[in-house]
């Protein structure tokens, strides 16, 4: 159990805390701003960092993250730039870092070469929204060889046989999609979250982190189920969209509002 993700969840569990996992698209609006935003988020006490690599066609994303992807591509952000960003962060930080990216970026880069670069940069896990459990074997052996976790997603639509199969093959934590639809803020989550949580908890001891549509402290505090962590993405990306290169301090205060 040397992966930073495992160590973090163990540490949080011992102190009876939940993980705050936050997302930013690398290169939105430029890679230097992303670096500063991340430093602010870490300074305010996030537990796990999720960095998105921009893609031309992010079909699991709502308009907020989709537009962030286009802004990052407009500043010519490549996969290699993201590896360099993580290397730079690793000089100062030991926080678990996960990349969120579409499978073609890995496939085209070269599966083995990509995983090697992940290890070299200090990346702990990958979230691949268009790689369901049926196709994960495509990458699994390459990732495992370099001790990189592939974080599986489950959705309210996932039926029990596939839920069981997914948790059996999971590592690190399970990314639980709160509701139908793409990423982005929702006024209300209508899924029966305590049922969703219980269905999962009855078949796995792995940490369960909830994401999609979470945007503020009040909402998170009101969520049913004993979730081990929460993933916040679009709410942060919206701040970056609004303030651009001036966004780091605003993101910082937003994180502070989540922690209190």
């Amino acid at each position: 159990m040397n992966n930073r993700i495992d160590l973090k969840f163990k540490e949080l569990k011992e102190s009876n805390k939940k993980a705050l996992i936050t997302f930013v698209t690398a290169g939105d609006p430029d890679i230097e701003t992303s670096y500063k935003v991340i430093r602010e988020m870490i300074a305010e006490g996030i537990d796990i960092l999720e960095i998105g690599i921009p893609f031309s066609d992010p079909l699991a994303e709502g308009p907020t993250i989709e537009k962030a992807s286009y802004r990052a591509l407009a500043s010519n952000t490549t996969t290699d730039d993201v590896f360099n960003l993580v290397k730079k962060l690793r000089v100062d930080y030991n926080i678990p870092i996960i990349l969120m990216l579409y499978v073609n970026l890995i496939y085209k880069y070269g599966k083995d070469k990509f995983m090697g670069k992940c290890t070299e940069a200090g990346i702990d896990g990958l979230i691949i929204p268009d790689l369901p459990i049926e196709e994960v074997s495509e990458l699994k052996s390459y990732a495992s060889a370099k001790e990189i976790y592939i974080i599986n997603l489950v959705a309210p639509t996932t039926k029990s046989d596939r839920l069981l199969k997914t948790v059996k093959e999971s590592e690190g934590f399970i990314y639980c999609v709160s509701s139908l639809g793409v990423t982005g803020e929702r006024k209300k989550i209508t899924t029966d979250l305590s049922d969703f949580y219980n269905r999962l908890r009855s078949i796995t001891n792995l940490p369960l982190a909830l994401g999609f549509g979470l945007s503020n402290k009040k909402q998170i505090d009101g969520l049913k189920g004993g979730w081990d962590g929460f993933i916040i993405g679009s709410a942060i990306v919206n701040i970056i969209a609004q303030y651009g290169i001036d966004s780091p301090e605003y993101v910082g205060s937003f994180i502070k509002s989540l922690k209190n």
């Binding site: 893609f55 031309s56 066609d57 079909l59 699991a60 709502g62 308009p63 989709e66 591509l73 490549t78 996969t79 579409y102 499978v103 073609n104 970026l105 890995i106 496939y107 085209k108 880069y109 929204p129 268009d130 790689l131 369901p132 459990i133 049926e134 196709e135 599986n152 997603l153 489950v154 959705a155 309210p156 639509t157 996932t158 039926k159 596939r162 999609v177 139908l180 639809g181 793409v182």
Partner: protein, 394 residues
């Protein structure tokens, strides 16, 4: 059911959609073996689509070119004017059997959208169509047609505002309402089971050609030619001939302004293996795996990928794929109009152009069948514009 064609195909989609794909796969497996379903489908093919479509001997063209005999498979004479209706009837009947209340789909040129809106009207199923902003502009008449038929059309302005973005948006919408909605994909692309299912609903084209050409000529054709965007009309006419090694299968892709420019959609000629829109196949992409903007004056061929079965047929050498430019397609568009009195879809004109050249190289005892996949009424305005002719539409 096999999910892959060699290394191509698969199911690379967000988790939220996986159970829906499994549900469709199961329903398709059940109903495609069901005599009652197949009887109903046959009846729809005959009474609604106007099948079988004619295999037309293009005598004037053949005489003029002086080489191989050219036959045209008249999918343009189907109801709604293209081969798209075959697949729509199949999938809509399946969706109805599955008890789905809503249909969503993507469309490029609008041929699939019009076919879907038409059958949704007939079946009394709610229909929501996604179309790239660029395509909405260049195919305004089809947008009006779809709305006339009672469908809701959403213009997609993200990305390049073309077919690929319409597919992205249709996938996004599907994840929002996956529980009661059926995604009626228009080509042999996307995640399994679509490439298999759409082929099964289109393979009637090739099956009819076999019967018709044996009746007319007493032998199989030497070559079968079809245009390829995602590749549904091509797989439809190819499939029944795959086992007949002597029949050359030729797909024609859109070279736009030329392969030496950035403005084309020639996936096989210039693309590489990747994973996108739920499938592993050939795509036009950059070194990091970003999908490239593509171009063809034909909205139906303006797509950066190709169906996985085509990638497979190409990889094993069973089918070949060649590029034809906008300019060449327009030559063929005018040629067929003047020579046979048939105005082809600009998509199909790509295949016609290739066949014109091939015919000249072959002896008179050889036979070429071209899939005339759609009619060209929708393209007249755009071709006029390309040629600098102003048409006042009032």
């Amino acid at each position: 059911m096999d999910k892959k064609f060699g290394e191509f195909g698969g199911q690379y989609v967000p988790e939220t959609l996986m159970e829906a794909l499994i549900e469709i796969e199961k329903a398709f497996a059940k109903y495609s073996e069901d005599p009652e379903f197949n009887r109903e489908l046959k009846e729809l093919y005959e009474n609604v689509a106007n099948r079988p479509s004619k295999l037309y001997y293009a005598s004037e063209m053949t005489k003029d070119l002086g080489g191989a005999k050219i036959y045209l498979k008249r999918e343009d004479l189907n109801h709604t004017g293209s081969h798209k209706i075959n697949n729509v009837l199949g999938q809509m009947l399946l969706a109805k059997k599955m008890g789905k209340k809503k249909i969503i789909c993507e469309t490029g040129a609008g041929q699939h959208g019009v076919a879907t809106a038409t059958i949704a009207a007939l079946f009394k199923i709610e229909c929501h169509i996604f179309m790239g902003k660029e395509d909405v502009e260049r195919q305004a008449l089809n947008v009006f047609r779809m709305e006339l038929l009672g469908a809701k059309v959403t213009s997609v302005d993200s990305g390049t505002g073309t077919l690929k973005d319409a597919v992205n948006e249709a996938f996004r919408q599907w994840t929002r309402e996956v529980e009661d909605t059926y995604y009626l994909m228009g080509s042999v692309v996307g995640p399994h089971p679509y490439p298999v299912m759409v082929r099964e609903f289109q393979k009637i084209i090739g099956e009819e050609v076999r019967e018709q050409i044996l009746l007319a000529e007493g032998k199989l054709p030497d070559a079968v030619v079809a245009c390829v965007g995602g590749g549904s009309n091509a797989i439809g006419i190819f499939y029944d001939f795959i086992k007949d090694e002597q029949v050359k299968l030729i797909g024609v892709e859109a070279a736009g302004e030329g392969l030496d420019t950035d403005f084309h959609a020639a996936t096989i000629s210039k693309g590489s293996t990747g994973i996108f829109h739920g499938m592993k196949s050939k795509f036009l992409q950059d070194d990091f795996g970003k999908i490239m903007p593509v171009y063809s004056m034909s909205a139906g061929l303006d797509y950066p990928g190709i169906g996985p079965e085509h990638a497979y047929l190409y990889s094993i050498g069973r089918a070949n794929y060649f590029p034809v430019t906008d300019e060449e397609a327009i030559d063929a568009f005018e040629y067929l109009s003047k020579m046979e009195g048939i105005i082809p879809a600009i998509e199909s004109a790509h295949a016609i152009y290739y066949a014109m050249n091939l015919a000249k190289q072959l002896d008179k005892d050889k036979i070429i069948v071209v899939n005339l996949s759609g009619r060209g009424d929708k393209d007249v305005y755009q071709v006029a514009k390309y040629k600098g002719v102003e048409i006042n539409e009032q």
